[in-house]
Amino acid sequence: MNLVKSEFRKLFYTRSVYGLTLGAIALAMLSTWPAAYAVERTQNLLSGESLTNPQMVAGIYGKATSGYLFAIILGIIFMGNEYQNGMAISTFLATPKRTKVLYAKLGVAALAGVAMMVISELFGFLGAYIGLNKYTHAALTSGALLSLIVAGIISGAVLAVMGVALGALIRNVRIATTGVVIWLGVIERLIVVFWTTGGKYLPSGLIVGMLNVKLDVKSVGRGLNIDTANYFGATTATLLLLAYAAVFAFLGIFTSLRRDVN
């Protein structure tokens, strides 16, 4: 418990954590609020899909999970700061059994990732609600809402754990963060949209699977074809995402155990 308390203090004393949470909130709201208008106004381009389809409404609410990018950055900063500022020296002098430190750090990061995702998701839902409010025919089922909340919680925990592992592996916060933003924010999203066969195995693709939203959208004349039936189902996607967390956690612990602290 002492270590968990110490790790929580590191977290609460780090100002960038609050900034990241605000960033996640902003991204979630900006992803959901305008989406309602966009869907309604472009339905002629989207093979007729409109807000009368509950799955389309769930898809808009599902964009509230967009903040997961900030959860992985949180993990990177949480671990990378240890090495970048030399804090790892005092950390490992206080607790030379490094495995214990890593378990505590992974656990606290996972909880922080969950908290960040729950908060940003709530704001994202609010954005979706505001955006959809004037469309009286747009409704979200309670089952879909539950799936979205569960997806947000799991993705927050898993991405934060992956961030801690990346922080341990790369150690340079700036390089790791830039790499993750480019990968998750651009490359992976393109892969997930345009190459579903491979994209469904990537974290973003698995998060799409966890949302459990069933859509088949073809953009007229633009070559875009989003069929969520190509993604894994919620259970398989959840298990695969947890496997990502386990593999990354192992790599983070293994690296930290073997490395000399300089």
Binding site: N2, K5, K10, M87, L93, A94, T95, P96, V261, N262
Partner: protein
């Protein structure tokens, strides 16, 4: 009395051997100077002693155990390794509270040790605004958190002004008088001559001399003896 022992300690980084078969014993209740030119392997040996670096072979033990196997590490050994080790974006007090929490030490002790090293007024200042000397004092404060019997200090006088150096000398002597075992590395040989009881001199990863200060310096100074020994070992 607490005791520190190095047994045939070797640490290699790829092609560079930083410490070669270091064997030495530090007696309890005394101040021992750990001396050597740059690159002699002092910091590497101390990091191996504190389980921050993994020895290639041999061992470094504190009261017969590796540091990582001590039941209460911070309550047994206090260490100053470089001036880093702190989050520069938060205050000295918050940094100490983080370390204290990890070791199960009450927060009130953080204020006590800040007072011991004359940093009470700067306790709420961010570490990035500390001078080098203040960071050294903060490192000492962190080392003292657990009221340890042993202190391992790597270049603790770096960045200290003459008043700070004199303060450190008196501080270490007071601790030694209370029975603490202190292993301290430094380049300030004149200062070390007045501070330590014993010395271990390293060159290129090996021990080239060890003994009491009087045995090593004879009628001269520690600086003269050091230069003579290092040159003859080269």
């Amino acid at each position: 009395m607490a005791k520190i022992e190095f047994h045939e300690l070797t640490k290699a980084y790829k092609d560079v051997v930083a410490v070669k078969g270091l064997t030495a014993s530090i007696q309890g209740g005394r101040i021992t100077g750990f001396l050597g030119p740059n690159g002699a392997g002092k910091s590497t040996a101390l990091k191996c002693l504190l389980s921050l670096a993994h020895p290639t072979s041999g061992s470094a033990l504190i009261n017969g155990s590796p540091y990582e196997e001590l039941e209460h590490p911070l309550k047994s050994v206090g260490a100053v390794i470089e001036t880093g080790g702190f989050n520069p974006a938060i205050s000295g007090l918050k940094n100490l509270k983080i370390i204290a929490a990890a070791a199960g030490i009450p927060d009130s002790r953080a204020l006590e040790v800040l007072d011991l090293v004359d940093l009470t007024e700067a306790r709420s200042k961010k570490v990035k605004h500390y001078s080098l000397g203040m960071k050294q004092r903060l490192s000492l404060a962190a080392a003292l958190l657990g009221e340890p019997e042993i202190l391992v200090l790597d270049e603790p006088s770096n960045g200290l002004d003459p008043i700070g150096i004199a303060w450190l000398r008196e501080f270490l002597k007071k601790l030694s008088a209370k029975g603490h075992t202190i292993l301290v590395s430094s380049h300030q040989l004149a200062e070390m001559q007045h501070t330590v009881d014993d010395v271990i001199i390293l060159n290129k990863g090996r021990v080239i001399a060890s003994g009491s200060v009087q045995e090593i310096i004879g009628d001269g100074t520690l600086e003269e003896a050091f230069i003579r020994l290092v040159e003859s070992a080269a």
